[in-house]
Symmetry: C2
Subunit: 465 residues, 2 copies
């Protein structure tokens, strides 16, 4: 899937000299650096770049891109390396442009409920900074990822059901385009009808249309009250049906996470907890003290109707932290079930009304798979992940994962859903875009050709060949 | 501003024959039809198309565009003709493609909180249809406009402070591209990371990148309780400061409209009401019965602090309808103050923290203008309109409006705002995009050239020459 048609030529000596002169120690061809920049956190085999450039400012990114453009050398943006779909693999060679050093919080404006940060700032770093000001940034994919990377992959996570994804929460961007020009998209006004929405075009473009160097984000006031609840179910479908009913009832639930018995077992082992090892919902409610009570009572009533048991409230900072810390570590916890194996994560998302049926189907089908599987879901959004534990070097296990994912994606697209709710396309899901977008692939290709005529920006990603 | 470099050649006879054969009576060159399709509702002089094509289906739109492309004839989409920025003017000749006959509600899916409608469906038509199902579509620009037109101009209106604009509420689109191909953008999943966001690119593109023929929209449950309030202030700045404080306090107000004394006078006269003719706020709250009470109490407290007087609650369907009916008719009410004159409406939008100062400045400056002015604002979004009543044929009055708007826009852009919050660019605001977007205009132009290489889609709109 990551086949390189031909091995990339050596980097031109003139480019190496120019980048070394520009960056000094921040230009590297050490093999450990190359290795680390050639992989994400999933099953995709490592595919290292030919050099790593560590940038510290937008103007520097512009100079690097200009140099690479002059030599027709690919540029692959790199943040925290938490990609799950091969976004950072150097499938056509080129340089990895590491933005993690661009980690300044440029401005926080409480009166406008927005903040501007450099692309390398992580969401934890921003939220730690905001804590004293009664503000927070809600988009939370779990991993310790950068906000630039989250924008580039249109990430979401546990809070999206209430607060939306990066699509809704990125107000404006600074980006370096393929010709080295620096643009600023959007303004800080809450709305605008002034021209084409380049912000939303760059969000989710995975570094293939421009390199995001700065993002302006929407912030929210920390709610007056936050409480969580946990509840167990006889099967995953009942847990899912509970959440779709909660959302359809207009309950503004802030998080609604489904975890199957396998995942609960993994969490107990990894996080030293002792929760029931059954299909489970983690719920969180935000609002006024009274509002949170109302929401939790309604959720409990709906859960009861679907056979939920052991509905238990968690309030207080510590209880909440424990719960979401456990949820955030699911990826690593599940990996711990079978050391040495990697995780192939599916990521379909379907209209809410179709979710329970699809999860029921997937739950039945996985019983026949010859590999271990876990299932977690941002089910309030219609999005769930099956984690297949495989040896990527074993063609049989890889084939099992590929074939299962293909069947799942086909079903999701037939239900008017998508092959990827939040992980992005990368190298891993390019082929599904043909079925998902049909004729709409042509304007996507036209846009790519218009904005990156030399094809130097993260080649081999997003669009199928 | 709407200068045509040269008068358009007559429509090719072969095109006329083909369109007549395709559309029969729905192809028209009657002067009344041309006249009606060559104007919006503002000061822009009428600029009629050379023919009107009334389409009834996406496939028909595709055939019309294919025929026009073959003859290099411009195509200008037309909905309800409520444009305020010259979007429908045939500045380079061509045909007006009237989509108002495409007014089928294709599907309403309560379980997914979405609906699919043809582009010619109006928001009132959709909401009338939804009423029995406990659902509504919130975006409300006031005018009786089509949902296709609202998507094309990225419209918003009174509810945006709570529910967002067309940017947030269009899930997916069907569009006909410049080569006659039909694409479907997005899916019905609530989120997706699968490829470039063509939905958001087409929303707000004003018919210059593709012709929207169908839209899938997000719906909301009718809130358990709705109540409104009205409150008067010593000056417009105090009214605005009240709203920015309400929003900054995290109060999820559903509408927050400021109207100046002149507008209140116009409303009283037009709608036969007897409200105080002072700067006024119309507020609306959505939520549970208790939540609505909480919100209103907080709003009243903040209003009191800014010198608000006569805070009065309005509950019950009839009182609410009366209030918002009066607000919706402001455009026509203000026109009634000086019969024969037209309205030049400004539309700047700035970060919330800058709004009170900018409104204060505008309020001072307008005292010196030799024309009547009104002021209304969706102030929870940072957006306000000054209505200047002018004779567009009088160069002196036109010059006054142009010069004032230019100064206002320059200030707004300097405050990191935008020249247009919701009316769109059309022909009227193209020149401001240079200052507002700077280097980001280049990728916009590249996208336009890539998706409409012949330049037949609504030429002379959005992008400056």
């Amino acid at each position: 899937m990551n086949a390189i048609s031909r091995p990339p030529a050596d980097l031109p000596a003139a480019l190496v000299a120019a980048l070394s002169a520009l960056l000094g120690e921040r230009f590297s061809r050490r093999s450990a650096d190359l290795e680390q920049h050639g992989r994400g956190e999933s099953y995709h085999p490592t595919c290292p770049p030919q050099a790593v450039c560590r940038a510290t400012a937008t103007e520097e990114v512009a100079r690097i891109v200009t140099l690479c453009a002059a030599h027709r050398v690919p540029v692959i943006p790199f943040g925290a390396g938490t990609s799950l779909e091969g976004h950072v693999l150097a499938v056509a060679g080129g340089i990895s442009l590491d933005l993690s050093g661009m980690n300044r919080i440029v401005a926080v404006r409480p009166g406008d409920l927005d903040a501007t940060v450099e692309a390398g700032v992580t969401r934890q770093q921003l939220n730690a900074w905001l804590r004293d000001q009664g503000l927070f940034f809600p988009v939370d994919p779990g991993a310790e990822c950068t906000l630039g990377g989250m924008a580039a992959t249109r990430a979401s996570g546990t809070n999206a059901v209430r607060y939306g994804t990066m699509r809704e929460n990125v107000i404006a961007l600074t980006a370096v385009m393929a010709d080295g020009s620096v643009i600023r998209t959007g303004s800080r006004a809450r709305k605008s009808s002034a021209g084409y929405d380049l912000t939303r075009l760059l969000v989710g473009s995975e570094g293939t249309l421009g390199i995001i160097t700065e993002v302006t984000l929407r912030l929210y006031g920390v709610p007056e009250a936050v409480s969580a609840a946990i509840c167990h179910f006889p099967d995953v479908a009942s847990a899912v049906a509970t959440v779709t009913d909660i959302v359809q009832a207009g309950n503004p639930v802030a998080r609604a996470e489904m975890l199957d018995d396998m995942t609960m077992r993994a969490i107990n082992r990894y996080s030293k907890t002792a929760m029931a090892e059954a299909p489970t919902l983690f719920l969180e409610f935000h609002g006024s003290a009274a509002g949170v009570e109302e929401q939790a009572a309604l959720a409990q009533e709906i859960a009861d109707g679907h056979g939920g048991t052991g509905f238990e409230r968690a309030t207080g900072h510590e209880a909440l932290n424990r719960l979401w810390h456990a949820r955030h570590n699911v990826h690593y916890a599940v990996l711990g079930l079978s050391p040495g194996r990697k995780l192939w994560s599916t990521d379909v998302c379907v209209p809410l009304s179709q979710l329970t049926e699809l999860v029921r189907w997937a739950d039945r089908e996985r019983a026949d798979l010859p590999v271990m599987t876990s299932m977690v879901g941002h089910v309030g959004d219609g999005n769930f992940h099956m984690g297949l534990l495989i040896h990527p070097d074993d063609p049989a296990e890889l084939g099992v994962a590929e074939a299962f994912n293909e069947r799942l994606v086909e079903r999701a697209i037939a239900l008017e859903g998508t092959c990827t709710g939040e992980h992005g396309v990368g190298t891993g899901k390019r082929k599904f875009l043909v079925k998902e977008h049909g004729a709409a692939l042509a304007p996507m290709r036209a846009i790519k050709a218009a904005l990156d005529p030399l094809g130097i920006l993260n080649p081999g990603k997003v669009l199928p060949d």
